[in-house]
Amino acid sequence: MDWSLIGTIIAVVLTVMVYTYLVGDNPIFRVAEHILVGVSVGWAILQVFYNLLLPSINAALEGARNGVTGEIIALLIPLGLGLILLLRSLRAFKSLTNLAMALVIGTVAALSLAGALSGTLLPQVGASFLPLGEGDIIGRVVLLIGTIVSLWYFQFTVFKSPQLEGEAKAGGALAMVSDRVRIFGRWSIMLAFGAVFASVFLTYFAALIDRVLFLINVKF
């Protein structure tokens, strides 16, 4: 018996079950949903066990066989921290688990912060101010303006509204300009959101197409 055929049949059935949601929430959809979640979790556990725990245990045992205690200790430390994290549900060990959590969060935060600054923020700023003398000047100008007006949109305090009493004319003019800029910024943001929305739509429509093609091209 071809197990791939069984897998294909199951995939078809589950696909149909999921699409029953088009007529509303129903038990069939929920069954498929639960199957998906369960399989995903089970798969994740297997991956953790076979890709993390088992290799680590094997490495420790191998180190022990080889008399390399350093590797054992190096593995026991994260193992201990992991066990401490398992005690998270116990309030009595909360202070202890906080240490492990602090280590994890601190490490991740440090990595993320450093990477965000050097990998995202500064490169994005640099990418927004590309030289206009070459390349797609219009696109870079649009990019520059869009970036400025989008950021200007979130300006709420520097320039007051001209409707406020006691405001000078000059200030009022600046405020009016600010309002106009903010309007453009809003439109720029809306365009960005629209692009994201369209992209998301296309992504999920591609998934629909994939499933439809699967159902059409399935061969038993």
Binding site: T107, S112, G119, L202, F205, D210
Partner: protein, 1410 residues
Amino acid sequence: MQKVWCTKCGNGNVAGCRWCTACGDTLRPAYLDSQAGAGGGQKTCPVCGTVNRADAYNCSVCGTVLTKVAAQPEAQVASKSPPPAAGGSRLSRLAEARRKKEAEEGNSARSGGSDWLGSLRSDAPLPSDYATGMDEDDEIDPTLSAALRASQDDDEDTAMFAVGEPDTNAPPVEFELPLPMFTGEEPPITTPPRSMTDGGLPDWLQSLGGAALPAETPPFVASPAPSVKPPPAPSGSDGMPDWLSELSGSPVSPANPPVAPSPASPLIGSSGTETGEIPDWLREMQGGSPAPVNPAVAPAEEKDMPGWLRQTTDSLPAPSHPSFGDVDVEERLSFAFDEPIDRSSRSDDVNPLLGVDKPITLPFMFGGKRIGLTDLLGQESPLIDEVGTAPIPPADLKPWLHGLSLPTMEEPEVLGTMPGLSEGQGAPTVKGRFSVTDMLLAANRANVSADTIDPVLAEESNVSDVPNYPNNLVPWLQGLRPPRLDGMDAVEVEEDTTETRSFSLREMMQASNTAPSAEAAIPAPEAPVVPPAPPPPSVELDSTEMPTMPAWLNQESSGTAAQAIPSFTPQIPSGSFIPPLRFDDEEEQEDGEVIPFELPAFEGGPFAPSDNPPSLSRISGGAPADLEFTGFLAESNDGPGVLPSLALDDVGSPGFPGGAAMPAPKTEPADDVPDFLRDLGVTGSEMATAAPEPDLPDFLRDMDMGVAQPAPSAPEADLPDFLKEMGASGMATEAKPAPAPAKDDNSFAEGLGMAAAGMGVAGLGIAGLAGQDKQKTQSSSLEQPPPEGDSLDFLRSEADAMPTASDDDGPMPDWLAALSSGQAPAMPLPTPKETKGYTPMRMGISQAEEEQGELPEWLQPGGAAAGPAPAPAMPASEPVPDFLADMAATQVPPPAFNQNLPAQTAEQAGRGIRFSTDGLAPDTELPDWLSENRATPEAPEFTVPAQLPDWLDESETGGVHLGLEDLTSEGAEQVHPAQPAFESNLNDVAANSSASSFGGSNFLGDIEGPAWLRSTNQPKVLKPDTGQLAAEAQPASQVPTWLRTVAPQTAPEEVAVPSGPITFSSPDDDRLPQVNLPPQLASAAVLSALLAPAMGKIVTPQTEKEPITGLPGRLNTARLVRYGMYLLLALVVLFGLFTPLQTSPLTVTPPVQAFYDQIAALPPDSKVLITFDWEAGRSGEMRPMAQAVTQHVMQKRARLVNISLNPQGPALASRITDELATNPNYGNSSFYSYGTNYLNLGWRVGNEVAVRGLYDRMGELTEYKNGTVAGTTAVMKGINSLADFDLIIVLAGDEGSVRTWVEQFGIQPGARLLFGTPQAVGPLARPYALGLPNATQEIRTTEKQPRAKGLLVGLNDTAQYDQLLHDKLNLTTDQNLDLGKRLSLQSLAALMLVLVLVVANVIYLARRRE
């Protein structure tokens, strides 16, 4: 603009105002016109009346915890009939039950009727034709103003209740009686119509004391009484004497010609209980209805009525109505008399609720300008000034006291000299300021010895202008002071000693309490204050002149822990004798902590007739001091020796709680007991044992039975003289006594009974809040054997003790002359010099008798002959009211004070200040019913019912609250009455709409009252149809606030909010300015509410159902749109699949080209890492991309390593890679093998951490398929870090993966990253690849910016890439992917999306324009 309509005056105030701009009353946000009519889904705050949202937990205004009782829709409320039914008081339910019973018996005609008691409320709205009888030029008598203010103060102060919870260290309860204070020379004070503020005694009660006790003719009543219209035909079928019916139930509308007196009226000779008993002057009193004057026929003609009475009838403000309730008293009366109610006699224009045909005029209208007390007095009301300093009630205030308004203004003190000790003992007379209450209290302690003066008190007495309160009172209760008369503000009293200091009379009482032999005398009233510069009444306290103050007044100064009035529902079978109630805790009684309380029986079982004094036992919770009815009941229990210094007017005075203890109920036969009283627990046997008292009307007996203590034996002959005298004077003053022929003693008895009933109710409440320091005395008094004496003897003695009305100018009516002359012993009158001051209470005639010289001669001993201007003697043939005649016949000389005093009463008297009258010998005998029922220690104790009602159960936590309502109500379902939330001005509106706007206590609503009481009430604004009113009951909100609060708390009902602003037709509404509720009181109530457990029935607000929109079932518009979209997409997909678009060759974009170039530039055996960071959900886009990229990499024969940051990535990578590597169709099977040329390292956990972990020791990882260490494979040769890879291609399914790789690896110098993302992630990943398309090769290679070298986004870029592979490398990708179809379908979908968006926006804009 939103307006807040004043509940007092109807003035529309700007929203946001807290006080009325017209009258100063506290505005109720509930009366916002925008909220008017708001019905269901709202909660009414029991404290401030604010209508809050249904889901509100706290009041938006005062923060009071709102019970989770959703306000019932107005319609539902309106449908309630009678209003007090649901959620109402037990009395209301009793009334309802009675109605039902009557209906069953076919006597439905009796049911219904107007709640004249409720209509008697002072705060009842004025009728449209309400007008003042004064002209602009009329001069307001300052004395009257003072009286009015005092009366108003009474209103504010009478609500001084507190709950004592012995088990919870509850604060003591103190109730300061709002007795109006009169100087000896003050004119009779008629309580002006004023609103019943939160916390005042009913106006009619207060007015009884003042208006009913004219000592002498006031200056302002010199003008003759205006002509009055005869009342309409009496409704004798109302179940009460016709004359009462005439006065109350058959008002004559001004629009309708008055109906001639009934032929059966006593005015023309009829007798019995027919309509003829009412004298004309009584009719006059009722709303100013002119009675036909026929001197030839009746002596009760106007001419026979003293001028001051006549004046009072018209010029004086009408006494307040008894504002108790929502129960139709007429119905009660009818029920009591078993007579049908004839409502046909009422005119349409007559307000049946009010019973007046002519609006009672007030002398405070000046040309349309409302003149209040402040205006009249030219000064600010002290109440208004002091309300702001109201202390906050303690936290342990009982829940049922939440809505209790506690006017905490301090009682103004009167400057004067009050001898702290008896002069006879040489005690120094103290000069200082004292309040009316102090005087009352002092009078109550007339016999208190001064030997042991409390040093503390003495020290306190040195403090000037500082009110002294009982030491054991909690501070916030100490602020509760009774009002005072402004006229007494500056009473200077000469002191007999050199010591001059400010003190209060309370101090004196307390001081004298230590001097057993000392007697404090309250000066006799001086000459009336004459406008415009009225001399301040001189109050001189002389120990030898202080009359004996009743014990219930002593309670006020006792300072003992005030006890919560336990609310209970007596289950007393009909005819059962009301057993004595007493506290179980004898020890506490001895300690003075327990105030004995005599009330009708609580228990439902029949009680054998007992001679023991009724005592109140602890009801529940074991709280010894839960019950406190220490006032008049205890006083009457003092024995024969304790003779309350109450004049006749005292009985009728508002603050005279003893009215509730009016004797004689026990004397009536059982048959005379109304059913509803029988239900209250008066057993038939007990009633049978009682001596018949035919003179008292049934309803009076009922009231006595229900309110006061049943008299074991009180023969009619034992009627105390002073009571009889009260019937002549006190009642006459209230009801405009006239020399009407006394046809029947019932007239008097009714009047007295009504006063007693009404007062009794108040007295119960008052007594419940009496001070503590009197508890011991009263407790001890309970231990004494019951004094033997005639019924009402003590009252008689009071009458004797108190001077009678003195009026030099006023002619003595004949009937009075005959009465006085016919008495065997002339009442000893004090000499004028000995009675300079006055007694706190205006004791009317009795008080006037203190000064013989000031007494009108017609009142002086000797009768008419002694008077300088004696009224013409009553002809022998002239009919005299029976009650007057009887009084004259039975009047006995007043016994001396302290005669035959029982031990305990003597002791009590010794501790108190005796208001000596020098010669006034009060009757030493208590009525039998009092003596037998009270003083016996072995009186049957009240036993707690096995199953306490709910409200009792609740009160167990905080003490038992006993309310009069409980005493008089049936054992109806125990629902906590709602806290009063509104002023009663709107009650009429609510009543007319048959909406029970208030479900609060109504324990006075069931009490019948005579018409003359009804007539004294203010007119109503609305005049509903009489027929309709018959079926409508007054809303319980008419119950005074202080009464409502006393009653057990129930879930607040929806308050019927008037649909529109309350308008008073009379623009010249001369209502007195109302004292605002002190905000502190509201705060205190809030505090109490917060601390109190949630009470009341929880009603889950109904959630509104979604309206059905068009299509039935599931096919609504939204669903149709959604299904339409589904169908549209399906059509697009099917169309694209079966009719693929002819796509031209794709234009390869620079990013795609860059991506291609990066892979194409790989040298052979390069190390390429492809990450599969996407899941199966992205397979539609990522799988073709991954196949194309992997195919391209394999085409370059690079070592391929896969890794994934997604758990599903390794599987997807393995599937795609294995397919491309092993499938010979792709041309890679001959080269690539797993572990040799390509490897799958599987899933790496932890995004950033995982990526950072790949920088070293990468070979130690295990591969995905076999778990083999990667370093051992050929693929990983020379690869131990990410930096060892020539190219890293990140196929990220989400933005996080892109950022992770860029931030953790892209920042590394020389890193080469390529991104392939789905369309959804493209906008987020594209910035990392910007600038590359047009960048020069130099920039691409030399720049160090951490950016991606190439980017593939979605199917479009994948198709381009696939085209490049196909065009340049002739590579074949998975044909099953059918990228062309996918791209075509996606394009169609994009077009469809554009169309849908355009159409949707067009529709939106079109609708927007519409």
